[in-house]
Symmetry: C2
Subunit: 347 residues, 2 copies
């Protein structure tokens, strides 16, 4: 343990002196996500959107419970092996999380960062492990298409039309287990670590259109990615991939353009989980996927796999969140956004 290594980098970033290992990352996906390009990679594809429950909220909790249990199974651990759980979701008062993970009885830190939640959870989890506050931590999040529509937009039965700038909330949940040693789990032969993080600020460019979240969130992704470059003194070529959470096609273009104005060209190595998860041609998902689950299940199913197999060595994982509620939207407010970046590397 080298405790002398600098931890604080620049204005917003941390470089971990003892980078936590990712023992396992799970992905429980819904039916539509299972029919998308990543379908074969998910741990489980649930055919029933209610997974046997009575309400959309209970169904989302069940997705999260399954993701947590699957991550434990992949890491060869029991719930009692996890010292702290860091988790959250999109629903008011985080009920998907509270009802989803209660039975695991793991001391818990509830977090909210909208769709940036997996970034925030992995950042806090890494801080706990790097700082010697925990040997093993789980970060978990979820989203559910029907629960999110009910929470933020219209009842499904209303059948409202969606503009092409709108995204489709992913039904799914992912959990990541971080640890201070790499003696077990699915990445045992690869050493996949969280090397650092850049904690985002709230960014609000005044956009009010909740059917165009990509445009609202792109400036938050821009600020965090630019700060990561500055804080570490690096440029886009440092990473094999720079991966945002759910900007979709509209937000991706804005992000690339904004960074280009600062002479950072990420056009060749940018990837967005919301773009990867659905087929734009035939899945009718318009701007792409969104929701906490979008980046979470893409991370477990695809990003971790690419690192494990050596296809990528270093990625910047930047889940993006729009911090609106139906109340703030109905009261005519803007959409404040945030993005947290996590540097994930194969060592």
């Amino acid at each position: 343990m080298d405790t002398n290594q600098t931890k604080i980098m620049g204005k917003q970033s941390l470089k971990f002196a003892n980078p936590p290992y990712i023992l396992a990352a799970s992905s429980i996906a819904g039916k539509k996500e299972g029919e998308g390009p990543l379908g074969q990679l998910f741990d489980v594809v649930e055919q029933d959107p209610l997974v046997g429950k009575q309400t959309w909220e209970e169904a989302e909790s069940e997705f999260m419970r399954k993701a947590a249990v699957k991550a434990l199974e992949k890491a060869g651990l029991q719930n009692s092996d996890i010292r702290y759980l860091v988790g959250g979701d999109l629903l008011g008062q985080l009920i998907a999380t509270s009802f989803g993970v209660a039975e695991l009885e793991i001391p818990m830190l509830g977090i909210f960062g909208a769709c940036s939640t997996m970034g925030e959870g992995m950042a806090i989890g890494s801080i706990l492990v790097d700082g010697g506050f925990a040997d093993k931590v789980m970060a978990v999040t979820s989203s559910h298409f029907a629960g999110a529509e009910k929470q933020f937009r219209f009842p499904l039965d209303y059948g409202n039309q969606r503009p092409y700038s709108a995204s489709w909330t992913v039904t799914g949940s992912g959990a990541v287990i971080l640890a201070n040693s790499n003696t077990q789990g699915e990445n045992m032969n690869a050493s996949i670590v969280v090397a650092g993080t850049t904690i985002g600020k709230i960014v609000d460019y005044g956009i009010k259109d909740s059917m165009n979240m990509g445009a609202a969130m792109a400036p938050a992704a821009y600020e965090t990615i630019k700060q990561n470059f500055e804080d570490f003194g690096i440029d886009p070529s440092y990473y094999d991939k720079i991966i945002t959470g759910d900007l979709g096609y509209v937000g991706q273009k804005i992000l690339i353009d904004m960074l280009k104005e600062k002479n950072y060209d990420i056009s060749s190595n940018h990837m967005d989980c919301g773009i990867e998860i659905f087929n734009q041609e035939d899945q009718d998902t318009h701007a792409g996927g969104s929701g906490c689950g979008c980046s979470a299940i893409t991370f477990g199913a695809y990003i971790c796999k690419q690192l494990r197999e050596g296809a990528w060595k270093r990625v910047l994982f930047v889940p993006t969140g729009a911090l609106l509620s139906q109340v703030s939207f109905n009261e005519g407010n803007t959409i404040p956004c945030i993005a947290h970046a996590v540097m994930v590397e194969r060592r």
Copy 2:
């Protein structure tokens, strides 16, 4: 810096090797709170519940903004001196926080623990400072009577009756600044530190009555306090005060009884912020005060003062949260609860 000192204690607790100093703790209270027993102690008492804004949500954001600015002022700091802000509130998707602190432009970690939020925020903030991840962190939270009634219960205009077991959501916001040195701020001559923390688990005893939150939350407080005693090998006499957030009269009795069954007698040194903040006789607040703001402004105005003046040396501050939403309540679900304990000491 003694990095060899044990940090991990027992099952759920941390003992800080480099206990963070509390530089300042602010308290912005509403009119009714200003008329209560602690009225003279608050930094500011706002006479207008809307503080000049158009909606209850915007008003709560303004309370939080004022609390953050006041804490900076008391600590002699600028917003740019704070490396990370850890904050949250009761409203769906934390809109009081997102709109309240955005203009401060401090990198932010959004948290949700219902009324346990100040406990969670001070715990995470202390971890960041103790672990060398930040020199200065702000923890902030708020609640607003009218916003909470609108969110969780009935419109105010409906004028519904309240059972005696119901609590009254506090209108107010408090912020705490944690730092790795004690060279400035209101406690400069006292050295008030966060010595340790016990992170709570979700506890659900099956209570469904949202008009009796004290009974729902008492078991969560019980579990966390008992675990704190066990993890540190101490008993109630270790503390001058054991201070819960908002159990009120009903919850206090349950908590004392539950701990007595385990041979822990806290009847002589227990205090509840919800009981302290209002006069039961003439303020019509029934079981007591509640809400994230209840423990937050009591901490800044009263608890910190008692420590600063030497009246108390060691307190266990245990904000308690009920993790329900109006959706989970309307769907007939139970009320899962959580409590996070923070050990605050005068050194």
